[in-house]
Symmetry: C2
Subunit: 189 residues, 2 copies
DNA sequence: GAATTTACTTCAAAACTTGAAGTAAATTTC
DNA sequence: GAAATTTACTTCAAGTTTTGAAGTAAATTC
């Protein structure tokens, strides 16, 4: 039984959390810092996938908390992600779909909630009346701005230089992997 | 309005997919390869979060497809993740919870399905009769093995050296970020 | 101008998540 | 050593999210 790729019963995921007397939190790496390219213990795509899930959930929790703090209770983190995906652009539902996260009926469902909550405005496109153009309302923009501010504050409080680099590193590496997975889904598999 | 952290309307996520005549797929990086530490365009945690979601979904899709191919139709990718989280270990529900992904009632729900499908066996612990010990059945082990094989085959077909490095890189960076997020959730925020 | 395709939306069923409440065993407290 | 508390789960009911099939109306193609 091909053992090897999958974790050899050693929890790759155990967190080492410490509080250091003062008011600032530190994450203590168990090793000085691995050489960027000697990939350490074998990592399978399943390991990564579980970490993806876990991180996603964790982050959603933070966004939820922030929404509560902001007094927003008609939408959740999932809807927020849609808002952020729209950003400053004015785009059609199709373009939003191309941005990747969702399937059609799903985004309709979110858009309905966001429209009801007055976070986005939808106007039927003049050139193509089938297609709706979507953009943030003032309320939507305000929420995004508030969240960005919260994220900034969060970074100042909890993140060091290395954490910010990790953010970019994770993004780049994951971005490439996603292309591979998308490719696979598209052709053969 | 604090613009900057959030995508300046340029889709960081557009995929560049090519098919190159032959039977092998390539992902074409738009630059030779960024210096590992000059983090390129600003990436916010929201950008990463959306990518996390997207990648997760994408990967689940691949697992789903593989399950279908294997003729497994009583469980989905979510349950598979639980199986893989258990691995070769025999552990209690509590330990599984500590491995991080789920909340209590949630894992009960999955464990029930996995028990019904005969993928896992649960025995009441003798030392502490409240606690159930969980392990994979032969069927569960077989499925995990099949999936690992599929992943191997997948890697051979679709991944280059760089992709494998990305896997490890993403894992490490994300792992650290998750600690930060977990920390934040635990104290203050 | 009929047939097809595109760009969505709606609906209903399934899957998943959450939180509150429940159960039974272990531990602590008095 | 019995009562109270805590631990280790499970169950339940009420959401929320996801999926896929079907629908609608505008645009395109034939």
């Amino acid at each position: 039984m091909t053992q090897g790729l999958l974790h050899p019963s050693m929890g790759l995921e155990d967190a080492v959390l410490l509080r250091n007397g003062g008011d600032r939190l530190h994450v203590v790496p168990d090793e000085p810092r691995r050489n960027q390219h000697s990939d350490g213990p074998q990592v399978s795509c399943f390991d990564l996938a579980r970490l993806l899930d876990r991180s996603s959930r964790r982050f959603s929790g933070l966004v939820s908390a922030e929404l509560t703090r902001l007094g927003v209770d008609d939408i959740g983190p999932a809807q927020v992600m849609v808002l952020l995906a729209i950003g400053d652009a004015e785009l059609s539902v199709g373009e939003l779909l191309d941005r990747g996260n969702y399937v059609g009926s799903n985004i309709s469902y979110y858009l309905k909630q966001l429209t009801d909550g007055d976070y986005i405005a939808r106007v039927t496109s003049q050139r193509d009346k089938r297609s709706a153009r979507i953009r943030l309302t003032e309320r939507g923009k305000q929420l995004c701005a508030d969240l960005r501010d919260a994220a900034k504050a969060f970074e100042r409080t909890f993140c060091g230089e290395q954490d910010l680099r990790d953010l970019a590193t994770a993004f780049q590496a994951l971005h490439r992997l996603e292309l591979v997975w998308a490719n696979a889904a598209r052709y053969g598999v």
